[in-house]
């Protein structure tokens, strides 16, 4: 067995997995707090990646400034989506499906808006980190290291914040039981808005971190959201730690499968696993 090749796939897979985890955590936040699935989460990711790539690669804006702008736009889109699309139907009968469809509409809207703004061509962005070192024959891309470091830090901060800060605790309380949360004086509307803002930040962060790794195009939202579905379903809806673990594992399994079984069906593994989990353990692999 060629261990360098194996290690290569492990690195490659885990770094993709970090992006899946970051992305999926945003879905988990919204599902945890509002009990709904935001289909447009994939387009939040796409928006982050596109704005960042466009600013850096086409407009020549500084990396950090571009990232800040992308984040700001992402937060605004997130909060507006909650206000204009989700809240008007939230809490009505069968709102879980209604919000699913409404956010599907939003995702179609955003994907095509991006096409109108940037055209359908993919944008490639390179950063000062876009170089490859080869210790022991393993190609390590700097952008993937950045993804690991920043992604890991964001996840760690998020977990800390959720368990330590007052706001984080309020979010969790609302996630557990909205009625009691309201009784103890938590302003749910504010919590929902913050939850959506937070989730879109996570989507945008993963979009920015992946932008130098994958090329970005307006139509990548659905592909990304499907990864997010796979991760959240397999982990168990609303499960934070599970989503991180499954996210990393999904990246890993895809890479290994692609290397040793069939590269063209790399992406199929996730769907297969998702279907099996839904059928045999629909509550997911991890308890909430």
């Amino acid at each position: 067995m060629d261990w360098a090749l194996f290690a290569q796939q492990v690195f490659y897979g885990l770094s993709n997995g970090m992006a899946y985890a970051l992305f999926a955590i945003g879905l988990v936040v919204i599902f945890g707090i509002l009990g709904i699935i935001n289909v447009a989460h994939g387009e939040f990711y796409m928006m982050g990646a596109m704005i960042f790539s466009w600013l850096v690669a086409i407009q020549g804006v500084n990396l950090v400034v571009a990232a800040v702008i992308a984040l700001a736009v992402g937060v605004i889109i997130g909060i507006l989506s909650n206000r204009l699309v989700v809240q008007p139907i939230y809490g009505k009968p069968s709102f879980v499906l209604a919000t699913f469809l409404a956010t599907l509409g939003l995702s179609i809207f955003l994907a095509n808006l991006a096409t109108v703004v940037w055209g359908a061509f993919p944008i490639n962005v390179t950063t000062p980190f876009s170089l490859v070192v080869r210790p022991g024959g393993i190609a390590i891309a700097g952008d993937r290291i950045v993804l690991f470091v920043i992604g890991g830090a964001v996840l760690w901060l998020l977990m800390q914040w959720m368990s330590k800060s007052l706001l984080g605790k309020q979010l969790q309380a609302a996630a557990q039981d909205a009625v009691s949360a309201r009784l103890v004086g938590i302003n749910l509307m504010r919590v929902y808005a913050i939850g959506f803002g937070l989730a879109s930040v996570l989507a945008v962060v993963s979009g920015i971190l992946m932008a130098p790794i994958w090329t970005s195009n307006p139509y990548m939202g659905p592909l990304v959201i499907l990864k997010g579905f796979i991760v959240t379903i397999v982990a168990g809806m609303g499960n934070f730690r599970g989503a991180i673990i499954v996210g990393l594992l999904l990246g890993l399994v895809e890479a290994i499968f692609g290397q040793y079984v069939a590269v063209q069906y790399r992406e199929a593994v996730g769907y297969g696993v998702m279907i099996l989990v839904l059928l045999f353990k629909p509550e997911g692999l991890f308890r909430r």
Partner: protein, 344 residues
């Protein structure tokens, strides 16, 4: 009985209007009309799941595409097979490709439904989506068999030879329109009779209250599975027409955009009715044309429309129009009633 005749009259008039629509129009409009009818069949089939079963599948596009691919692959002759670089040259005639594509979709619908219908709600949507994505991926990857991303090209024109009659060839949008109209009328009649059957009543009872229906002896799984299979088969019928009409089929036909269009047509038009999805298809094809909206703005518009409809007209456009009309009639009758009282 009277009510039945009135319904029949309405449908005859509507069919007559539909038959007159393409007369004297330019070819482009005829093409759009034909496309509308084909998409209407597809929307109607999706509506069986959404409107009558009250469930959500996000894998319906797979059946549309499977129907299209089945005829595409089976009907290729030697000449066109060369063009498509596909090894197949079966050159099956229409009377064989039609049952074949329906059968393929029925079997796929039965199998996928059998596995997925253990779930409800969004979970059902996601399993079916998973299956559709697997089929989509296989279609792209198995290039030697499916033509990969470039799909199947050079499908021969629709040609029906019946003994003792001249060969019927439908190669123009105009002639194909009437074939699609026949299929659509059949689909509408079929679904309307379906809903009036014991089967349809059980389905609606399940949609309204699954617990109560099962206490009345309705086997939920059996009925859902049957309905899902029928819906898949009708989607295959639409795919069949689509493939023969355009004379090519690509993986787009079983990809995510065809899921979007099904959702848009059915939700915007109105679920659980016969005319809602047809109106939805009409709006889907024609509104962007009328306003001369660029291709990429079209889905943008419908994405926004989907949001607006779900928020403001959760039943969809057609049922809302009907209830508006009912209210209007009711008010008129009330007024008449009052006037009657006064004149007495």
């Amino acid at each position: 009985m009277k009510k039945y005749n009135k319904h029949l009259m309405t449908y005859i008039v509507l069919t007559a209007i539909a038959a007159a629509l393409p007369l004297g129009r330019d070819v482009y409009v005829q093409h759009l009309l034909t496309l509308t009818l084909i998409l209407a069949i597809y929307a109607l089939s999706y509506n069986i799941i959404v409107g009558y079963m009250g469930l959500f599948s996000f894998g319906h596009q797979a059946f549309f595409g499977l129907g299209g691919y089945t005829i595409g692959l089976l009907s290729l002759g030697e000449a066109s097979a060369g063009r498509s670089a596909l090894p197949l040259s079966l050159a099956w005639p229409v009377w064989a490709t039609l049952p074949a594509s329906l059968l393929v979709c029925a079997i796929a619908g039965y199998v996928i439904g059998y596995v997925s219908l253990q779930m409800r709600g969004v979970y059902l949507g996601l399993v079916t989506l998973g299956f559709a994505m697997l089929i989509w991926m296989a279609t792209i990857n198995e290039r030697h068999f499916t033509g990969g991303v470039s799909g199947v090209r050079g499908i021969p024109p629709f040609e029906l030879t019946l003994p003792g009659l001249p060969t019927l060839e439908l190669s123009s949008p105009f002639s194909f329109y009437y074939f699609a109209l026949v299929l659509l009328v059949f689909t509408i009649y079929f679904i309307s009779r379906l809903t009036k059957s014991r089967f349809g009543r059980a389905l609606v009872a399940l949609r309204e209250n699954e617990e109560r229906a099962s206490a009345l002896g309705v086997d939920a799984f059996k009925y859902y599975l049957m309905a899902f299979t029928i819906a898949a088969t009708l989607a295959g019928l639409a795919g069949f027409a689509y493939s023969y009409y355009l004379r090519y089929i690509t993986p787009t036909a079983l990809g995510i955009t065809f899921l979007w269009s099904a959702v848009i047509m059915v939700i915007i038009g109105g679920t659980g009715t016969l005319l809602g999805p047809v109106i939805g298809a009409f709006i889907f094809v024609f509104v962007p044309e009328v306003f001369r909206i660029a291709e990429e703005l079209r889905l943008l518009l419908f994405g926004a429309a989907l949001v607006v409809v779900i928020i403001f007209l959760p039943q969809g456009i057609y049922p809302s129009l009907v209830s508006l009309w009912d209210r209007f009639i009711l008010r008129r009758q009330e007024r008449k009633g009052i006037e009657g009282e006064i004149s007495k």
